[in-house]
């Protein structure tokens, strides 16, 4: 579903497709950290990470003096450097823009915030055009101005009406042409979403083994690929213990949490899986770690996951923090903000500054809720 034949044969700058990556990490009951899913299209939420930190600083200044968590504030400048390094033209200040679908997009706040923090123009599709020279320009008061790098927060399918959906008013006609010609950089590259497919995710450890001959440092959650007959059989028999997810949904839509489901829901899901096994995977129900969370006026445990942000260009950087998402409903494992989840500031503490190793604090004093 996220496969884009238009991207076959393209060699993006530095050989990187996913410049901004927001993989989902969870911790199980035995303390193991797992990669729950990959997020290579347009991971969002980083503005919450930054805003949460601002709020905690304001509310708990004394904790900062004591623990000295590593700062996250430099994310916008790291992001800018990452984007700037993709510029097709060598220039000290390449023209970097943030492409947003516009004011009615639910993440518009983040687009505006990042553009402002990076000092980049926030543009909509109609602000840009691709000229006969295959270069991309924005319409400014001074006339057309060449654009070098586009941090695009518009989905592949709406990016270029010439290449994808021709009814898209959000995109820029000819953008793919310009990108293929190497005259403008797109981050993330179109087509990177192919790896968001949860079935592709299930193959990642094998991919690592095959190409790098290494074991993953952070393991995947054991995953049943319903397209395989044995796995399908197992999933259908053990559905009440498993979490079943469609391969290409995001935002927590369409998934079934076995232990919390009714027989009717399981029957419906079983029918759906049998109809299209390729489109489903299943995983054991993890006992996601919890953190103390202020609910009304007292502390209660709530399940969380963690999304660090990884920037890859000429060098790789991982944020010294991340977006911790909280399932605010009691017992719920669904942390997505679109499903009523909240978020928390997340600290990484210098454990021992002499050895430069860092411990990530979760569920300790460093976790403070700032619902956003």
């Amino acid at each position: 579903m996220n496969f884009r034949p238009q991207c076959v044969g393209i060699d993006p700058p530095l050989g990187i497709w996913a410049h901004i990556c927001g993989s989902e990490l969870v911790r199980d009951a035995d303390g193991t950290l797992y990669v729950l899913e990959d997020n290579l299209r347009v991971p969002s939420g980083v503005s919450y990470m930054l805003e949460n930190r601002l709020v905690t600083k304001r509310v708990f200044p004394e904790l900062f003096e004591h623990y000295a968590p590593l700062p996250v504030d430099d994310y916008p400048s790291q992001l800018f450097d990452t984007l700037a390094s993709l510029s097709p033209r060598p220039a000290e200040y390449p023209e970097v823009v943030v492409l947003t679908p516009g004011i009615y997009n639910s993440a518009y706040f983040e687009h505006a915030y990042l553009a402002q923090q990076m000092g980049a123009e926030l543009v909509e599709g109609r602000d840009l055009f691709v000229d006969d020279d295959d270069c991309c320009y924005m319409r400014t008061v001074d006339g057309p101005a060449r654009v070098d790098v586009i941090y695009r927060r518009v989905d592949d399918l709406f990016l270029d009406p010439d290449a994808f959906r021709d009814d898209s008013a959000l995109g820029v006609a000819g953008l793919m042409r310009s990108w293929k010609a190497g005259h403008v950089a797109l981050a993330n590259a179109p087509g990177a979403g192919v790896a968001d497919d949860k079935v592709v995710y299930a193959f990642v450890p094998e991919i690592i083994k095959y190409y790098l001959d290494q074991e993953p440092i952070v393991p995947n959650v054991p995953t049943y690929r319903c397209m395989e007959p044995d796995a399908l059989q197992y999933v259908l028999e053990h559905m009440a213990e498993l979490v079943v997810k469609p391969a290409n949904e995001s935002g927590g839509y369409g998934m079934l949490v076995g232990p919390a489901s009714t027989q009717a829901e399981r029957d419906r899901m079983a029918a759906a899986i049998k109809k299209d096994p390729r489109n489903y995977i299943a995983q054991p129900t993890l006992k996601l770690s919890t953190v103390p969370t202020v609910i009304k006026d007292r502390l209660e445990p709530r399940h969380v996951d963690l999304r660090p942000f990884i920037l890859s260009a000429d060098r790789q950087q991982v944020t010294m923090g991340g977006l911790t998402r909280v399932a605010l409903r009691k017992g719920s494992l669904v942390v997505n903000s679109s499903q009523g989840g909240g978020s928390k500031d997340t600290w990484i503490l210098p454990q021992d500054s002499a050895t430069e190793t860092y411990e990530q604090v979760q569920g300790e004093a460093g976790q403070r809720q700032s619902q956003s």
Binding site: D127, T140, D142
Partner: protein
């Protein structure tokens, strides 16, 4: 600066100015009607005439009664020129360019939109009208002041100012038009009320006091026309709007076409012998000016704003 941002700033200013001037027109007409005898008072239709929206009005209302016209000009969402619609549009234009507008100004634009919406019912009553309209005018002035006093005076500000002056130029000519051409018949029995009429024109522009200070003669048609059209010192006069939009234009790149249109407008104003004009001549002259103002807008849009989005072929 992005063309889209320039366009949003321009329209933001135009809509705020439009709301303010509409409030001024309504307020003064209401006052004027109280002073005129029944047989002479022309009622409320002229107010719709100056906005040029008669067709739309007649589509939705049976007659030009006070209640109907008030609702149409103040609160009708179907009328894009109503105060309510203008303010919603101003806010919508501001929403995508919040980086360029100081936070306090954005808050005030929100505040004004809410004020217009929440106070509307009271504003439609005879007793509540005055304070409602005065609130609108003061609040608009507050926004202008905040923008002047706190915003970066860069290219964006020039577009904001351009929008303000062009809308103001347009509205000033309209105010002069309605009060001079349509409100009172050009006949002898209306002569005794001539003065009242011109005082009301001045008052709708908050110009009465300033007129008195700059022109030490009694309120008369000729000098009043001279003042509101040609005074280089009064910030709501047409002269002022043209001069100051020229200053804005001079600070922008690729301005040759716009300066030419602006110059044409200035010359037309200079060469007019306003005092000698009959009502009819004045009305025609104002029409000519409004076309010139529309040309200037067109030239600005052509030069700096993004092309209109054509609906994508499905």
């Amino acid at each position: 600066m992005l063309s889209r941002v320039a366009e949003n700033l321009y329209w933001l200013a135009r809509y705020v100015e439009r709301a303010e001037n509409t409030a001024r027109i309504v307020n003064v007409n209401a006052n004027l009607l109280l002073d005129l005898p029944k047989g002479i008072a022309p009622g409320w239709k002229p107010l719709v005439d100056i906005t040029g929206a008669n067709e739309l009005f007649e589509e939705h209302y049976k007659d030009y009664g006070e209640r109907q016209v008030m609702r149409f000009l103040l609160g009708d969402e179907r009328h894009p020129g109503s105060i309510r619609s203008a303010l919603e549009a101003a806010r919508e234009n501001c929403r995508t360019i919040r980086d360029f507008v100081p936070r306090e100004a954005w808050e005030q634009i929100n505040g004004l939109t809410l004020y217009a919406r929440d106070g509307l019912q009271k504003g439609l009553t005879k007793n509540g009208r005055h304070s409602y309209l005065r609130g609108l005018i003061t609040h608009s002035q507050l926004i202008n002041g905040l923008l002047d006093g706190t915003m970066l005076h860069d290219q964006g500000f020039e577009f904001l100012s351009l929008g303000r002056y062009i809308e103001r130029a347009d509205m000033t000519t309209r105010i002069a038009d309605v009060h001079s051409a349509s409100l009172l018949p050009d006949a002898d029995e209306a002569r005794p009320y001539d003065n009242i009429q011109w005082v009301s024109v001045l008052k709708s522009l908050t110009a009465y006091q300033m007129y008195r200070r700059s022109t030490q003669i009694r309120v008369q048609r000729g000098p009043v026309l001279g003042f509101i059209f040609k005074s280089p010192r009064f910030p709501r006069s047409l002269r002022w709007c043209i001069d100051h939009s020229r200053i804005c234009l001079e600070r922008l790149p690729r301005n040759e076409g716009c300066l030419r249109v602006n110059g044409r407008l200035a010359r037309a104003l200079d060469s007019a012998e306003l005092e000698g004009f009959s009502q009819k001549e004045l009305h025609d002259f104002i029409d000519e000016l409004q076309l010139g103002i529309a040309d200037l807008h067109e030239e600005i849009a052509q030069t700096w704003f993004p092309p209109l989005v054509t609906a994508a072929a499905a």
